[in-house]
């Protein structure tokens, strides 16, 4: 690692001020599980590292049955994994935070850091996108809230300016009759990046599918929501044929690449299998 200056601001204003003094050469540090690896591999060589962990109010983890879930920037994957509330209301996210690296890494890695890293295979992104999550962003001009959809623009790239901090992720409360599933496919169960990830968030009312999010991970430059697949089930009875058609539409929509983990063709086939399986599992939960 190259040497850098290190700061532990106690407020958002102080943090933004430090970044501006550093003329954008600074990096925010949360759990450090991506940043430290990138600095060691010289992918990033920041002049200053600004640790967010001493900033008050960034550790809240709050659920309300009307307003939904509010996760602060310092909430770790392990906290979500071990939260009964998360498993009850945000089963996809809880699953993603469990099938993720190791306990050692999950004790450090934050959900917001996982979002900001914008990896195509990030596990928390598909379930959060399927649930219509949004982000609170603090910057020099105050605070704004943006939809998570559109936040990641390319592998490793987001709409954030260097002096902006994501303070919270907000996830709407699930309507009655909602089931969520995240399926991660890899060669082994633990310590594996997703070859394909599929998140489904599905609400049924009066026998019809009234809300649906289907999001694919690791098969496009950024996690991919597939409205063409969702449309085949929305406002319809989820028959076997419609579920199969939606899975086929998801496979059609994805843009996988071939790499060390799998070929593009294999990924596309797995998208179909896993989308079908995730939809069936979600419908079983509701039966």
């Amino acid at each position: 690692m190259k040497s850098f200056d290190y700061f532990e601001p106690h407020s958002l204003e102080e943090a933004v001020g430090l970044q501006q003094q550093g003329q954008g050469r600074g990096c925010w540090l949360a759990g450090g599980t991506d940043l430290l690896v990138q600095m060691k591999e010289h992918v990033r060589q920041p002049g200053l590292v600004i640790n967010l962990k001493k900033i008050r109010g960034l550790d809240d983890f709050h659920f309300d049955s009307v307003t939904g879930l509010r996760l602060g920037a310092l909430v770790t994957a392990r906290e979500v994994e071990t939260s009964p509330l998360a498993h009850q209301h945000y089963a996809g996210l809880a699953r993603a935070c469990t099938d993720f690296a190791s306990i050692q890494v999950r004790n450090r890695a934050t959900v917001v850091g996982n979002i900001c890293r914008a990896s195509p295979s990030a596990d928390t992104l598909p379930p959060l996108l399927a649930d219509d999550a949004s982000l609170c962003i603090h910057g020099p001009r105050g605070t704004r809230t943006v939809a998570l959809e559109g936040f990641c623009t390319a592998p490793g790239r987001t709409i954030l300016a260097p002096d902006e901090i994501v303070t919270h992720v907000l996830v709407p409360a699930p309507a009655p009759g909602t089931a969520k599933v995240y399926l991660k496919h890899g060669r082994r169960e633990q310590m594996e990046l997703a070859t394909v990830g599929v998140a489904v968030s599905l609400t049924m009312s009066r026998g019809r599918c009234s809300r649906l999010g289907i999001v694919l991970g690791a098969v496009a430059p950024t996690p991919l929501r597939v409205p063409t697949a969702e449309a085949l089930l929305l406002d319809e009875e989820p028959t076997r044929d419609r579920v199969h058609a939606a899975a086929a539409a998801a496979a059609q929509a994805c843009q996988p690449i071939s790499d060390v983990r799998a070929s593009a063709g294999y990924r596309r086939q797995m998208v179909e299998v896993l989308t079908r399986r995730a939809l069936v599992q979600a419908l079983e939960v509701l039966r």
Binding site: M1, K2, S3, F4, D5, Y6, L29, G31, G32, T33, L36, V37, M39, K40, E41, V49, N51, K53, R78, A101, S102, I103, Q104, V105, N107, R108, E189, Q190, M191
Partner: protein, 163 residues
């Protein structure tokens, strides 16, 4: 940029001068003189640098030393009871042949200690799940799982204080 950090290292208060870009792993080994914690991959993949920081299992290679200011750290050296008395996990790693070259062993024992602190009677699946972040290229894992399982069983028979 250098900084002075105060931390509790295996129960002992210590003050160390560290460079800000130094990892906690290098600091433990070089400034702290505690070489039981190993450096395998240095990027979070192998678990040989596993320590307990403020009660949580972490990879010391992915923590900056400056972040440990004020922290309570337990390393493999803090798990052994005294120069002459091993921890029951260490006894069972020997008994079951769960260490061959031994490079991964400190990390496995620290991870096992954290598991048993949290869940005194884990199932075999829970043991395997808890150790997923630790890699061993010698033993094939079966003996490691057996050693942890046996320690948990003894612990239940002899009462928790045995640990």
């Amino acid at each position: 940029m250098n900084q002075v950090i105060n931390l509790t290292l295996n129960g002992e208060p210590r003050t160390l001068m560290v460079a800000c870009h130094r990892t906690l792993l290098d600091t433990l080994r070089l400034e702290g003189g505690l070489t039981g914690t190993k450096k395998g991959c240095d990027v979070g993949e192998c678990g040989s640098c596993t320590i307990i920081m403020n009660g949580k299992l972490v990879n010391a290679c992915l923590v900056l030393a400056v972040e440990a200011n004020g922290a309570e750290i337990i390393t493999i050296e803090g798990i052994q009871r005294s120069a002459l008395e091993l921890h029951p996990l260490q006894e069972n790693f020997i008994k079951y042949g769960a260490a061959q070259c031994g490079f991964c062993t400190p990390g496995f024992i620290v991870a096992a200690k954290a598991l048993l602190d949290e869940n005194p009677r884990p199932t075999i699946d829970e043991i395997r799940f808890a150790m997923a972040g630790n890699i061993c290229r010698c033993t094939g894992y079966t003996k490691i799982v057996q050693a942890v399982d046996e320690t948990a069983r003894e612990m239940q028979e002899n009462g928790r204080e045995a640990l």
